[in-house]
Symmetry: C2
Subunit: 518 residues, 2 copies
Amino acid sequence: MGAETQMTGAEILLRTAMANGVEVCFTNPGTTEMTFVTEFDAVAGIRPVLGLFEGVCTGAADGYGRMAGKPALTLLHLGPGFANGIANLHNARRARTPIVNIIGDHATWHVAYDAPLTSDIMSLASPVSGWTRAVASPEEMAGSMLDAFLAAQKGQVATLVVPSDCQWSPVEGEVPVRAVAPRPVAAEEAVVAVAKALRAETPPVLFLGGAGLEEAGARAAARLSAATGCRVIAEGFPSRMERGGGLPSFERIGYFSQLARGQFANASALILAGTVDPVSFFGYPGEPSRMAPPDLPVYQLVGPEGDVLDALERLIDLCNAPALGAAEALPVPDAPTGPLTPFTAGAAIAALQPEGAIVVDEAATSGMGYYPVAGAALPHTYLGALQGGAIGHGLPLATGAAVACPDRRVIAFQADGSGMYTVQSLWTHAREELNITTLVCSNRSYRILQMEMARAGVMEPGPLAASLVDLSNPDLSWPQIAEGMGVPGVSVTTSDELVVELKRALSEPGPALIELIL
Amino acid sequence: MGAETQMTGAEILLRTAMANGVEVCFTNPGTTEMTFVTEFDAVAGIRPVLGLFEGVCTGAADGYGRMAGKPALTLLHLGPGFANGIANLHNARRARTPIVNIIGDHATWHVAYDAPLTSDIMSLASPVSGWTRAVASPEEMAGSMLDAFLAAQKGQVATLVVPSDCQWSPVEGEVPVRAVAPRPVAAEEAVVAVAKALRAETPPVLFLGGAGLEEAGARAAARLSAATGCRVIAEGFPSRMERGGGLPSFERIGYFSQLARGQFANASALILAGTVDPVSFFGYPGEPSRMAPPDLPVYQLVGPEGDVLDALERLIDLCNAPALGAAEALPVPDAPTGPLTPFTAGAAIAALQPEGAIVVDEAATSGMGYYPVAGAALPHTYLGALQGGAIGHGLPLATGAAVACPDRRVIAFQADGSGMYTVQSLWTHAREELNITTLVCSNRSYRILQMEMARAGVMEPGPLAASLVDLSNPDLSWPQIAEGMGVPGVSVTTSDELVVELKRALSEPGPALIELIL
């Protein structure tokens, strides 16, 4: 684009974003973002999507960034508004989703007066941002937006603080042209060392993450496995995984270290491809933090920030791994019948999900039945939640995925305790008429904490401890909550009812919610 | 208490809290707080109150701390769980509510492994905390809890990070005895200077905040005003104000600077008592940040952290201000009839609120009709929200106030946009059977932003800008949302219906919600 004159700072920032491919902005703005709000109409190429809570916006940005394959944009209100989005940005950071946050701040000359909404925004933003900057003048708006975009492209959260006077002040300047940050490739010596490890008599484990779980990466890993006998284990919470329809299906690493240790037994080495050395989610008395045995050699082929596919293809060359024939798709599982359990719930989704579905999994303990059988489902994208362990991730993720892919069906497989964290997402599902079918697993407890209590040896918790992991009293009615936000809702108690309602919901446009009483 | 042996670190911390008067803990715990969860039963003197989202817990701690007059306790889950509570801690910091946050962290030896939930907790906590500490050993648990309690007593948020191994490890030691941090008193020269300013021919404005708005402070300020002619103006968002039944009733400072400037006209000086120099909520082009005229002399009698009542009483002595006779209570306003407006909504509450009610006001633009008439209501406590401007404050504040004062009726006067931020509060209202009557003002917009847009000269916003401040499409159904969380809900469209439903709700125990279609 050529030179423009008399734009506001907000306009040139938005035009810079648009010139670099931004089409959507997830936002809950306030007074300090008002110039952005009014300039959306002038720019007329970025669709603002309103969330009723910032955690919805940041989680949606995560889902959007994963599916669109380019940085997602948010617009948030000073420190406290941003703070409401931190938990899901923490998840996005761990998922390495490219996100640019624009935070409106007080006018530069107003900050010193310590007005009510003033706080140390950078201190709040730094823990979840790989890149931060505060704009100091309107002339910096365009260049800073471009820098933020480039930083985000590396698989980071980039956070730009923009004072309101820098938004409303006029500025001259050109909209910077697009630039792309390439992913770093694996070092040659790392590839050679891993190729040697793969040829060992006792095969290693290939621990696969990031883009290694998308279609080309998964096929390359399967080819290496077939040629070398290495065991491929996927990250426990994959950011994005292509599955079904004959694609390779990998076991995930166990959540608890005991399970993971079994997966490493008899391996000669651990190869990290697009991920990091696996560690236990939490530290437990007497247990090691690392999941791999201490004497197992570890090779970092390429980190999460790097080009995993390139590294796997170079390994294929070095190992002379033969091409695999086209795998036949497994038969799609039958729809379940009888009582409703986490296992029949998972089977029902795998049986009925349409081709091209995007399945967002924050079902937590209730989700255990889905992943193992979904490898036989029709081709689909699986978006794991909870990369950073902050609950309230799934419903927003589904929001952003549906905005990015309006022609695909999104299935949000959701636990009840975590679903309540960002329940406001449902309103955006309705407002934007998103094709999201939400299944809430209502076990009316923080079941994972009940399990943790048992692991800690507390088999009969006292009444106070028991009450803190119990979500009954009163029972939530998810259909009522959903309908209160404009999403039709229904409750099911058997697998047969679930199958009927899930078929119906998947056949109709727009959002719907099914509560599974487990 | 004497020496104890073989307590866990979690137990000695809880016992220290209990020995210092803590009776309640607002919490949403996770695995890193599991020892606390199980020790609640062993300690058996601290009632854990579960919130389905951390913003509920921190806002409830704010309401509890204001009403109980002692530090409130929260227990939160690492960085992301804490982050969900930041917005309401930001409000609490501005309200100077005493709060102690306990944040469970990874085991000390697990932090270095950068497990999924690891983040820089101190960077997140510092902007909202006047005091922070990370415990490094179980031996530090009791003393650190006491230090946090003392820090909070000064009207601060105190945040203590407690690794899980410090919780579960055994420790010997004594539970520290109670200590009290007295509030600093005003300097004598400040009191003398203010007394002189009060005797000026043209009276000054007395800008009153903090404890100056509780009963004794308000009576003292009214006595000074009667003797000297000074105009008393209250903070715009009072933390706690006693009103009604013949108590002095003060105008509040205007939200927009134009209004506030009119209140300072003709004053000879500005006296700050228990508050700070008033500044505009936001900076606007061409407008000053300070609300007072630049040439108006300013006297800081005593800051928000100080003993306001003591300072006012010393002024009364210096000024020889005569005691005032008992004021007669104004006649309670009549219940309104006819169409429902923000003015009739406010009048209905003032007319029907029972003696001893606690009215929590986050009604924002819809609340304008309440404050002016509520001075004639029966004696009650008014809790302003939004001290820090972070919306989602009111429903949690009401939660904590009701827990602190089970024998009083709490009325939550709530805007719809902000109410959605922490809507999960309603579930805690039901679970704890709190006597909270919630009135949601459903104007289906971010009305304050519509006003800000008009102030910025945008009289006809474009369709995208208009959509971002519009909460219809779809309309929220607050009764359905409330009933989904166990709170009976009803919707009203006229003042007459409101009066009927409000009378009914106030006459019944437990929570209820009334949606006012405005």
